[in-house]
């Protein structure tokens, strides 16, 4: 049976700050967004005081002063570095790791004899090596692992590690019944409201729902979510990743590669795809995660290189994002290894419209924004990837094995079904040609 763990950091940004400020142990901490606009992270103590999330700082300033809250501007260089360390350490615990955000990743624990003990060991190791507290949720599918992580966070008596296998079926049902359907991975607030109207209120309701009917009414992802809640692992990360917080693009290669050019090409490709999504939703990213990995099965030296690159200024520009990502790749690349997967995660996603200019950074060239929107328009009209970065083409070795993939009939105009492609001037096998003769005007008769 498959088995996944979702590991994530508790109040990650504030925990990172506290590692280097032991005088703040047990004290409330908050971290502000770029340009100190909003509260983006709160330590448990700050939550207890009642400081709400995502409020402009000036609205909570007096509350912070009263309770002597330590207030930090966001330090993406620090958080990125701590994230890189955390992911590197976590990669040692499983043959397969999927990084989901700056402080979250899935580990594949399938076939492991004692997942719960393994989970506790993972949590303790992060605490020992980095001083970062975390929670681990374990379940037979990613969706259940994510839900388990929620339980580990909410219910203190699990001490940060929860495995569904620890409960009897009746206990598990009771727990699922107590959780709002909104807590289920991939079910957003809006979808939850629609489900509520269908009397699907709890996670248990969704687990018992008619999956096929949901597919008809909603989409295939929700159908699979129901299967996942029933313990069948069938969702890929990219299916569910909420674009509002992070955009993920990653692929395995058709064959293993060991030189830099194909890795560069694949990273550029993923950046181009992710940046297009970013622009489509009118956002910018402030941090890029780059990862390359060797095949954990059957390679002598398993290696998962991961790094986070903070951007001086949030951006949605393919060229700037690619430049940063390529710099990250060059840090990670180790010659002599055979890589089988590469990917990027765009993080710290914010609304482009309300983004403030950094006074000291050069203003972005308005022509670049026009260039990006022109590329997007052309790609919409001419088909995906018609206009791309040259570096995407320096090597094809990284392309996914998809010789047997059917065309994207319904989404890509270039690949739509061709009707009347042949004029059939000669007869296809098994057919006879018949040219209807034009009837002479019947009036002559």
């Amino acid at each position: 049976m498959s088995r996944f763990a979702l590991v994530d950091g508790n109040s990650f940004y504030t925990s990172c700050e506290r590692v280097f400020r032991p005088d703040l142990i047990g004290k409330p901490i908050i971290v502000l967004s770029n340009n100190d606009g909003c509260v983006v992270a709160r330590s448990a103590e700050a939550k207890a005081i009642g400081i709400p999330a995502f409020l402009p700082y000036y609205q909570v300033r007096s509350l912070c002063r009263k309770h002597r809250v330590a207030v930090f501007s966001s330090n993406y260089t620090l958080y990125g570095d701590m994230s890189r360390r955390m992911m590197n350490i976590l990669a040692r615990f499983a043959p397969q790791q999927d990084i989901y955000s700056i402080d979250e990743c899935f580990l594949d624990l399938s076939g492991m004899a004692t997942p719960l003990a393994h989970g506790r060991h993972i949590r303790q190791t992060l605490l020992d090596k980095l001083g970062l507290p975390s929670c681990v949720g374990i379940g037979p599918s990613k969706t259940l692992a994510k839900l388990a992580n929620h339980v580990a966070k909410q219910q203190a008596h699990w001490q940060g590690v929860f495995d569904w296998a620890d409960l009897t079926p009746a206990e598990a049902e009771g727990l699922l019944a107590s959780m709002d359907v909104r807590e289920v991975w991939g079910v957003g607030r809006r979808l939850a409201e629609k489900l509520h109207q269908l009397r699907i209120r709890s996670a248990l309701d969704l687990q018992r729902a008619d999956a096929r009917q949901l597919k008809r009414n909603f989409n295939v992802v929700l159908e699979r979510t129901v299967a996942e809640l029933n313990g069948v692992s069938c969702l890929a990360l990219d299916d569910v990743a909420s674009s509002k917080q992070h955009i993920i693009s990653s692929r395995s290669f058709s064959r293993q590669v060991s030189s830099l050019p194909p890795l560069s090409a694949s990273i550029a490709h993923h950046i181009a795809r992710a940046a297009e999504k970013l622009r489509a939703q009118g956002s910018t990213a402030a941090m890029i995660g780059v990862s390359i990995q060797t095949n954990a099965f059957g390679s002598a030296t398993p290696y998962h290189g991961y790094t986070c690159i903070p951007l001086l200024q949030p951006s949605d520009d393919t060229l700037s994002l690619n430049q940063a990502a390529q710099a990250g790749l060059r840090q990670l690349f180790q010659p002599g290894l055979r890589y089988h997967k590469a990917g990027v995660v765009l993080m710290e996603i914010g609304d482009k419209a309300i983004q403030q200019q950094d006074m000291f950074a050069p203003a972005p060239d308005p022509r670049r924004a026009r260039l990006m929107s022109t590329i997007d328009q052309l790609n919409r009209r001419l088909g995906k990837g018609s206009i791309r970065l040259a570096v995407e083409d320096i090597s094809q070795d990284w392309q996914m094995r998809q010789a047997m993939r059917s065309p994207c009939y319904s989404t890509d105009p270039q690949q739509a079904i061709m009707a009347n492609r042949q004029a059939h001037t000669s007869a296809p096998t098994g057919y006879r040609l018949y040219w209807p003769r034009r009837q002479p005007d019947s009036g002559n008769e």
Binding site: P22, L24, R84, T125, K129, L130, T307, Q331, Q334
Partner: protein, 142 residues
């Protein structure tokens, strides 16, 4: 109290191999570990067994001069290594970082300076003592 400052992270640079002068130089070059007898040395690998858990701190003051740790030195601190009796550790005292030698024998705990001009620090209980990491290397430029 604070006699060190945290000065950041170790850049995740690829291994950098320097040619090793080895046994040719008398009186000076430390005996290279067996692993490095292949006539080149990767300094990152030499200084850190687990780079993901290692941080760099800069020393202030001379309370550890007896151990050869001088003001301005960069210390490599392994946060993951268990602190044993006799280790040089980075501890947190009154919310400040300090580097001292750890004494942990016969139920007695203390942080020992390596300079008679400084006092021994004795925590009230095991809980009072917060060890941040174990010093596993020292870097100095001349």
């Amino acid at each position: 109290m604070s006699d060190i400052t945290l000065c950041g992270r170790i850049a995740p640079s690829p291994p950098c191999s320097l040619p090793l002068a080895g046994m040719g130089i008398r009186a000076g070059f430390p005996s290279p570990a067996d692993d490095y007898l292949d006539s080149s040395i990767d300094l990152n690998g030499y200084l850190m067994s687990d780079p993901d858990a290692c941080f760099v701190v800069r020393v202030q003051g001379d309370s550890m001069s007896g151990a050869g740790i001088m003001e301005g030195d960069l210390l490599i601190v392994d946060k993951g290594r268990p602190a044993l009796h006799g280790d040089i550790v980075v501890a947190v005292v009154d919310g400040d970082f300090t580097v001292k030698r750890l004494h942990r024998r016969h139920g007695r705990l203390a942080l020992l300076p390596e300079n008679p001009a400084y006092p021994v620090l004795v925590p009230q209980s095991e809980q009072e003592l917060l060890i941040w990491g174990v010093v596993c290397g020292c870097v100095r430029r001349y």
